[in-house]
Symmetry: C2
Subunit: 280 residues, 2 copies
């Protein structure tokens, strides 16, 4: 076994190349992205994401953590490089990197790659600007058992480090892809999914629709709402009752409430309330 | 009308006093707290929070915003001080302060001050460490129409600037207070509320309880869960079904899903499913 490479300079080429992955352009050019943090990296490894390099700062890893980290590192073909705290501070993002930053190959993912079960529940996030919100919606979608998430016309990309981090690595667990709103519409149509658009202006409550057939829930950004692209698939607009101040719900919270209502309905198919009659 | 005071030095006593309010100890001593941001400040004014001082950095306020801000300032008895960008950078927290920081008097709020309607829905957050999470739960609670929120044995305080900010000012809209877990238990008991404790280890699903009587939902911190204090009130432990990776839901998301299930049940009293039989 050879000794791991030790890097002490911020001018090291490998370090500089990795730092460029903080920018969307760098991610696109290199077709690679960064994973900050132990848990996130572990989840990527488990999900079969190809990790090229891992930058490890031993003085920032708790000794007790080195055992599990070692086992995780053994499970990847990644080259492990030891870096000083000074170098690590350039590579890492925020406080949660825990002494580990991985460089992974961006998995090529398109609508055609999404394998759906029968009667799937799909989430579409349109025009997302804040990577933290995208990550939080992914986390909610994973918890609620959503079958796939599409980022449509995203103004951030799926593999932004802040998406990875806010998703706590659930990004690697749930089938996801990026697409234009237009191609997403065509795809939803081909899949025969009923399309629900979440909108504060809708008259119908989110509890008053039937989520048991194959369903796509389309969520817009908090600032601008949804584009008109969805009109061609004849969507049903739904809203959450907002009791407090206007705009008081975060998009990941609203998404989770809708996903869990879908889950509730799907778990208890014998009820027959509200708009749900007619199937049994 | 006199000209507003102009402050150009970070060593100004008023500025130094206000900066101390970033710390919990300073807030406790002065019985005052900071409000960053236009929307948050506006919501505080509307809610009748007493604002003592407002530090305004004109170069950071968009001209279009000065109209509404002026009207808002007129509605308070606050002393408005103009500060330079250099001074403002010391006072403000993060990017969302939008050229305005207010100093407000901490409203004295205890369990005895909470006025509840009949059959209230109350949320209790125990042992919260992250102010951002407390703010996010307040935002969810406000959206879902929760009647009051108690911060029990909090390791952060309600008027932490990050709570104010993450709550988007809903903190001022919803009845809130801080208390010990023990006194909260006694209070819940006196109010005759059914106590539901959210716990990943619970066997009962959150959809399988009746939220129509007066109910308190107790949420623990993501890290440590709930203390044993609640046992004396004979709580029912409930859980959300987690489909994805373990620990994938944020506490404010889990809270919102539970609050909205309560709202759904309360809005449609004629259904009779799952564990809800026997009332009608």
């Amino acid at each position: 076994m050879t000794e791991p490479l030790r890097i002490t300079s911020r001018q090291n080429e490998r370090v500089k190349r990795a730092v460029r992955l903080r920018d969307r352009r760098g991610r696109k050019r290199q077709r690679r992205f960064l994973i900050d943090g132990r848990r996130e990296l572990h989840r990527a490894v488990v999900a079969g994401i190809a990790i090229d390099e891992i930058f490890l700062c031993e003085s920032l890893c708790q000794p007790a953590e080195m055992g599990p980290i070692g086992a995780m590192l053994d499970a990847t073909a990644a080259e492990v490089m030891h870096v000083t705290e000074h170098v690590f501070a350039r590579l890492a993002f925020g406080a949660r990197a825990e002494g580990l930053v991985g460089v992974a190959r961006t998995p090529p993912r398109s609508l055609a790659d999404l394998r759906l079960p029968e009667c799937p529940l799909v989430a579409v996030i349109e025009g997302a600007e804040k990577p933290g919100n995208v990550g939080a919606v992914l986390r909610s979608a994973d918890g609620a058992g959503v079958d796939a998430v599409v980022l449509a016309d995203g103004r951030t990309d799926l593999f932004h480090p802040a998406v990875v981090r806010a998703s706590l690595g659930t990004l690697f667990h749930i089938p996801v892809c990026e697409a234009t709103s237009q191609s997403t519409c065509a795809w939803l149509d081909r899949q025969g999914l009923a399309v629900l658009t979440a909108s504060p202006e809708a008259t119908r409550l989110y509890t008053d629709v039937d989520y048991r057939p194959g369903t796509a829930v389309v969520l817009g950004s908090e600032a601008t709402g949804l584009s008109t692209a969805w009109k061609r698939v004849g969507p049903t607009a739904i809203r959450l009752p907002q009791q407090g101040m206007a705009d008081s719900l975060n998009v990941s919270v609203a998404a989770a409430v809708i996903f869990y209502e879908a889950f509730r309905q799907r778990a208890s198919p014998l009820q027959g309330e509200g708009g749900l009659q007619g199937i049994f």
